[in-house]
Amino acid sequence: MLQYVVKRILLFIPTIFFISLIMFFILNVLPGDATTMSGGLKRQLDEQTTANMRKQLGLDQPLHIRYFKYMKGIVKGDFGKSYLRNESVNLLISERIMPTLQISLAAILIAVGIGIPLGFISALKQGSWIDTLSMVTAVSGVSIPQFWLGLILMYVFSLVLNWLPPQGYGDGGFMHMIMPSVTLGVGYMALIARTTRAAVIEVLNEDFVRTARAKGISELAVNYRHVFKNTLILILTTVGLQFGSLVGQTVIVEKLFSWPGIGSLLVDSIFQRDIPVTQGCVLVIIGVFLIVNLVIDLLYVVIDPRIKYTESNR
């Protein structure tokens, strides 16, 4: 098991290296750079200043030299310095990652807490009005654009009812977290509900469920011991994948609610051509994705004791 974990972690290295290589070249061949965006088109910027800026940022050096410098920093765990902010990228990311994790975790809790029971009940009551209602809710949840949902929530809970603050971080307080988390979580809740329903329906048709029922075990025990436990792997896989990608998909919510997360930092840095920040953010998001997936793989063993990560099944 330990050997497996170490090997998986070692596999992160080529993955991150490959992604960083592609990302570096794509970002550096895009038209425009930090000096272009520093002045923009609106304000006139001194030609000499632009040249000075390029020199100081190292943008006048050949691409391969810049890449080696960048990789040297990455190996040391240093993402470099922001072109526009004069701050360490590590510091910028460390300030922004926690708020993103906060709403991502809250969103996934909402999604799991509502999505799994909704999908489960829906599968057990197939064809009933509960099933129809649940699935209409689920489909609506998937279809509603986050931006629109966020605005509706703001309108209802801030403007009409005056229960929640319309925006801001507010030291990460619970009240400030509610609307961004719900906006982010609704789509995933719907997805998890649909996945759960499909998984439960599949398991309900299995022979071992029929056998358990024939043995006279109560319906509750059948559902918990045989149905729920057997659907957990699929649900867990979905939740893991969703959480991994959620961290990189918070930008709309962050912008809408002025939430100081990594998504808005990433998007701002792309538009401002602040390449070190873009690279740092992408690598961190990928890192979170890889770690979450590793944890999910390890949880499989806990859920299903038949799974063993040995030399033979690798």
Binding site: L45, P166, Q167, D268
Partner: protein
Amino acid sequence: MKKIFCFLLSSIICFCFFTTNAQAAKKGGTFNFIAPYGGDLSSLDPHKTNRSQDYIVILNIHRSLYIWSSEKGKPVLALADSVDISKDRLTYTYHLKKNIKFHNGRGVTADDFIWSYQRILNPKTVSSSVRNIRIIEGADDFISGKSKSIKGLKKIDNYTLQITLKDVVEPGFSLYPPEVAILPKEEVIKRGDGFGVSPVGCGPFKFSKWVKGSEVVLEKFNNYYEPQKPYLNKVVYKIMPEAASRDIAFKVKELDATIVGSVNYPEYKRNPDISKNMLEIAELWTRVICFNVDYGPFKNKKVRQAVNYAINTKLINRKLLKGKAVNPVSFLPPTSPAFSENVKGYEYNPEKARQLLKEAGYEKGFTFECLGTDNSTWGVRAVEALIPMLRKVGITVKPVRMEGAAMATRAKTGNFQALIWSLDSGPDPLSALSRWKSDNKRNGGNYCGYKSAVYDNYLDLARKTTDENKKLDYLKKADQTFLKDAPVWFYNYNKAVMAYHPWVHGLQPMSVELMFQDLSGVWVDDKSPRKR
């Protein structure tokens, strides 16, 4: 005699009582404002940023030698009581205020001005404000390292600073912007790069905290040099790029004032409660379609004029922008001191457009591509609105949507046929018009590649003269020459709109940029939910 004395004494006591009470009523409270442009702030080091979003906050932490006066429509002295100007208008002797303190408690002296201007010019700082300080004699020698000091900067004594200029220009225009603020040397050195996230200035508010991507909080500086000011205890800048969120936050009174976009403008105007508390001003930003004068049809002046005649500009501003724009005359807007009052811009006249095209040899029309971003006011959306109008005279315009940085690269290299953008057209009309001078390259802002000896001559005359009226006259003539040559389609001047709640007082119609509010004179009355 006794009665008169008693009357005078009681009048003075009453006056003192009421003014003291009036001042006391103004004091206190928190003002929730916005930083609405783009994303998070980049830096609060005024010498190291070039973003409007940062300046909104910076101008209340720091102070420059001059400050923009919305009342006078030009820069006025801020850190000096008076200035003596030599006869040749090249040497300015400033008598600095003696009660200015930095937020760390140290007094501001002439040395701080010299150090700050040297820091801007130092190539290691890589400041985008170099061009502002370049007006001082000896700036170029300092930049190139030929001289260790700036020849034109001289400390007479701690509170007297002499500045000698290279040419006859109005120094206020270069020395008022927030990016040339005076900084405390010891704090800049001590904090290093950290100065940008934890700045120390001599403005009305001191930095308190910055929740990245969410808000910046400033607190009242008790030793600010203007008596009684600032009135507010605290200012919170909410970083809110989304107009829809700002709208709701304003309506739930989370914001005390907000900028209004064209989407919300008609609704705010219709609302009797909001419309009476709105500031509207033609900002010194001119929206244009730049024609690349090296591209086939646009080489011909008549073709460029024809495009201007073919478009019903007023209709587009009324319908597309819902009236949140000021119809154009020439490049300089009405809030510019060199605005040509008696000149008419291009009217909608498709017949004349057809005739001009015929004379230019383009009777059958032509096709051109126009680059634009997805900006809702001066982006591709506006170009799309031109399609039917231009088609009527045989011209086909193909809008090409681009991302800002990619478009900027093409603009600066001349790799385009036409592009739509918003350009600064002030506050200094000479500086604004110099953008289009023949010797200014495309990457210096002359995106059209416009060249005109007549235009250049007027600008040179304006630069040389010491007579203010003559200078304005030359600038007006240059602006009118630009209008006739039409290297751009004159779209509009930005009408900036700010809405505020009835308890807010003292906001100013700032033509340089409405969001550049000096909050030292702003106060909130007892109706504010954040008064205490």
